[in-house]
């Protein structure tokens, strides 16, 4: 079950990024026809990031302390000191933007150019931050493996 939670955390993050790309493309082509689709996609973005937050919080509280100790004893301590420390705070930027996105797209984007550019910027920054955070997560998990390999644990390679 814990493995499901571990992998569900980045999966929801990536689904949120994909839904943000969906919002971005729909907002570029905003019209009366896709108005409800934009709203649905924006709520999916918010839901995915809240789910990623909840799952990541559980994982961090329950298990990250031991992984942190392993990383810090390995050859990549910067994976915690720089990457994780930045990632776990950077995450709240796309989370806040994702919570705002359904509000930002509630108006008529086809008629209000200002609302449309706000939706584009918010969705765009969710994508950029989300991809950076996914990459950071990969570095952190790899740092645990590198530490085990460095310690000579057999079968980790």
């Amino acid at each position: 079950m814990n493995d499901v939670i571990l992998f569900a955390h980045p999966i929801f993050g990536m689904l949120g990024v994909l839904a943000s790309v969906w919002v971005f493309v729909e907002a570029l082509n905003a019209s009366e026809a896709n108005r409800s689709r934009i709203r649905i996609a924006a709520f999916i973005v918010a839901g995915c990031f809240v789910a990623a937050w909840a799952l990541g919080s559980y994982w961090r509280m329950a298990f990250y302390a031991s992984e942190k100790a392993i990383i810090l004893k390995g050859p990549w301590p910067w994976a915690h000191n720089f990457v994780m420390e930045t990632k776990e705070r950077l995450f709240f930027i796309p989370l806040i933007l994702s919570l705002y996105l359904p509000i930002a797209v509630a108006g008529n984007l086809a008629k209000n150019g200002g609302a449309r550019v706000v939706a584009l910027v918010v969705a765009g920054f969710i994508v950029l931050n989300g991809l950076a955070i996914e990459g950071a997560g990969a570095v952190i998990s790899y740092a645990v493996k590198v530490a085990f390999v460095h310690a000579g644990v057999v079968g980790v390679e």
Binding site: L28, N29, A30, S31, W53, S57, R60, M61, N81, F82, E85, T86, E88, R89, L90, F92, I93, L95, I96, L97, L99, Y100, I103, A104, A106, G107, A110, K111, N112, G113, G114, A115, R116, V117, V118, L120, V121, V122, F125, N129, A132
Partner: protein
Amino acid sequence: MMSVAPASTATATDELKGPAAGFGLAAAIAILINALLAWEPLNAYMASLVGGDFWRTHGVAAVVAFFALGYLFTYQKFRIDGFRLAGLLAAASVVAGGGLALWFALA
């Protein structure tokens, strides 16, 4: 496909009001608050509130700031040009994200 008008041609129809304006400004401020919460004394204070781990209070504080400021600005009938708000949100994201990365790179 409709094109996005540049800021210089912004008109009254580009204005945002209501929750879109209020929560938009709140999002920009909450993003900056989130970056400021990385400051060590604040980190330690937030950790002390929950007995050990700052992260729970950090996230809740950022989200509560977003909703509280959003309701406040909306209640005060805040209005803003959409292009200006987009610039504020972009600037806040770049400054906060870059600032966090720089902070921990130099720490």
